[in-house]
Symmetry: C2
Subunit: 412 residues, 2 copies
């Protein structure tokens, strides 16, 4: 954990993936992120995978380094406490609907008279208020009908959903950015802001930002199916003689030259250039347009070499390539995990299960990186936060606990 | 364009997707983002799709609302100008290698004596300096071997690459966040920072943050293939009688009840509950574990209804569902694009092609949203930026242009 955001406190009322991710990134940069949940846990508290004791491995990774406050959010009193926490803290990340008790207006109305400066970031489904999730915005975006084998019939190919909830993770990172942008503006002007980020807009807007919306309109039709090939450049998966699948990509002249050398294809490429009347070194265009001829050459070469030999040659030529791992392989891969400084030692996870824990994606030479912190137990910081943020006495907090409005740690 | 980041200037030396995206998000929030490229264009200047006149629709969408400076970055003099621009501006986003002329140290060394406060955000491949791209880190992450039809043989299933460069877009958003985090720290302390964000760490770290790394280690094996089903909850794609494919998801009790009602499956579900001895309303667990039985019931119901009828019932029940579009359909869909305030009118794009242009993903009620700005022509702002940032006279700039060190707009 770095301390770039130390001094910043954020109330997060979240579920699922996008919203917790926004808080996670802030917490890993040193912010105090206080997740406030319903006392039985939010909608994501028992998301798969669960350990035998019923602890969610999803929850304990998406909520690392945060504090937890547990309140009865079905009661008016619990909701009032959350609104007051958000108002006094002044910074809120949530995916509750704008029409809920935790609207920007409701929170800002509880800030000091005449000086509401709340910054709230609200993750929505669609921009018009309709519900959406990663899976459904993905269906709308067009991507699932473009994925999958090249030889699937274009008109009848089934969609291929992505296992990675990419829209959630893009949205989470974007919301962390939007929060800091609004805070920067408040620092400069004193003004608060209501920031709404619809998951659906992130999906369709990313499709557009990538150039694909313009592309489809310019074509007046869908793009041809590419299978695992890279659009507009040279790259695809290949398989070595001993059955190892790997991806190669060449987007620069240097990468292309390296690939040709590593595969030992200099003469074959020269011959093909003569036959086709092109020069593949000229750029992405000729390599992409003639990709099927090139893919055949590369696959033939791959099928005549074992991975140990081929990967050594690819590395020696400085090419960009990678072996496909199953996720179980990836999870304990030395290069990816066990020897990677992104990961630190297992902290005291709520599940009791020990495994490498992530630090922030950003690394900063010369700054103390520290060790990853665990997720909290549900309600672990209820007492501390109600006392420090709202000035409640231990007697008052005890009464809230006795009455079921607040809950302390679910550790036992 | 919003003005949350007005007053902030950033030098961006970028190529491909992640790094330009970080600058794009800042520019759409009102920052002055000055992209400095080699005078013939960076490695991404002719990325597909190209118009007939050779303009990249990818480039003009990823660089919207930025300024462009074009220098001979193969010459020492051009490189010196870029280093000086980054030093005087104090804020840098780049994907050039740390060992290049644009290292953090080289730029900071050109800042005022004794007060280097540079904030640089550098996108890397792998953390150890090896090259990587979206396609290759994806291969390592394990996701491509989990995607694709459920009935593919687990041991021999081919990888399915994602057409969406998800790791690039997550990295881009994260880098915009990391930049603002480091700026917040500098505002508070005066300290600059070098921030490195490896694309590979974003991939493997996201896999871990989602809980999947812990899951694989806890299982001691890979997850079973799920096809298009949602992991740990109820959801999959179905097909109506008239051939419309759509995705449904139910993660909450309310969503589940709505789905059952919309599909008219109340009695069938009750009967299945009796047979299996479970209550599907109890949570994700029983719905996920018995998903194949449920999927059969839902697909049978879908196959007996046309989409117009079924979608009306799904909407009336407030369920979360979405029709799969091809990307060409999505690109001119009224709900997604033409009637969506995310999109504004076509600005004067370098390509001359008119199409809806994205605003920032974030929308802020009560703030002026403005209209989307176009990408610059290459070098369009060379003169303005060299004059304003480095104080060069028009005569000095003219000499740089004459000598081929600087280039003005490539408009003609």
């Amino acid at each position: 954990m770095y301390n770039l955001l130390s001094g910043l406190s954020v109330i997060e009322t979240s579920s699922f993936v996008a919203s917790p991710t926004a808080g996670l990134y802030c917490a890993q940069m040193g912010a105090e992120v206080i997740r406030v949940d319903h006392k039985e846990g939010g909608l994501d508290y028992d998301r798969y995978m669960l350990t035998e004791a019923g602890r969610s491995l999803s929850w304990e990774n998406l909520n690392r380094a945060k504090k937890s406050v547990a309140l009865d959010l079905r009661s008016g009193e619990g909701r009032e406490l959350l609104v007051e926490l958000a108002a006094t803290t002044g910074n809120l990340i949530t995916n509750l609907p704008e029409k809920s008790f935790l609207s920007h207006g409701a929170v800002a109305a509880r800030q000091p008279d005449g000086a509401p400066d709340l910054v709230s970031v609200r993750i929505m489904g669609w921009h018009d208020g309709r519900q959406a999730m990663d899976f459904t915005v993905n269906a709308a975006s067009g991507y699932p009908l473009m994925c999958g084998p090249e030889d699937w019939d274009m008109a009848n190919a089934p969609p291929v959903n992505q296992v990675l909830p990419a829209w959630d993770f893009i949205t989470g990172a974007y919301c962390a950015f939007a929060l800091l942008a609004a805070l920067r503006h408040r620092d400069a002007t004193g003004e608060g802001n209501e920031v709404r980020v619809p998951l659906g807009d992130v999906a369709i807007g990313t499709m557009a930002n990538s150039g694909a919306l313009a592309e489809m309109l310019y074509r007046g039709a869908d793009r041809e199916r590419l299978g695992n090939a890279i659009w507009g450049a040279f790259g695809r998966d290949f398989r070595s003689r001993d059955g190892v699948r790997f991806m190669v990509a060449a987007l620069t002249p240097k990468q292309w030259d390296g690939l040709v050398a590593a595969f030992g294809l200099g003469d074959a490429i020269t011959a093909l250039e003569g036959e086709l009347g092109v020069r593949f070194a000229d750029g992405d265009g000729p390599r992409f347009e003639n990709r099927h001829r090139l893919f055949d050459l590369f696959q033939d070469a791959a099928a005549n070499a074992d991975w140990a030999d081929l990967s050594a040659r690819l590395a020696a030529q400085g090419t960009t390539f990678e072996r496909y791992r199953t996720m179980h392989e990836a999870a304990s891969d030395p290069e990816l995990v066990t020897n990677n400084p992104l990961f630190g030692p297992a902290p005291a996870n709520p599940s009791g299960f020990d495994y490498p824990a992530t630090r922030s994606f950003a690394n900063m030479p010369g700054r103390d990186v520290g060790n990853p912190a665990p997720a909290p137990y549900l309600g672990q910081h209820t007492e501390e936060v109600l006392a420090n943020r709202l000035g409640l006495s231990s007697g008052a907090i005890g009464t809230l606990v006795d009455r079921g409005i607040a809950r302390l740690s679910d550790k036992e």
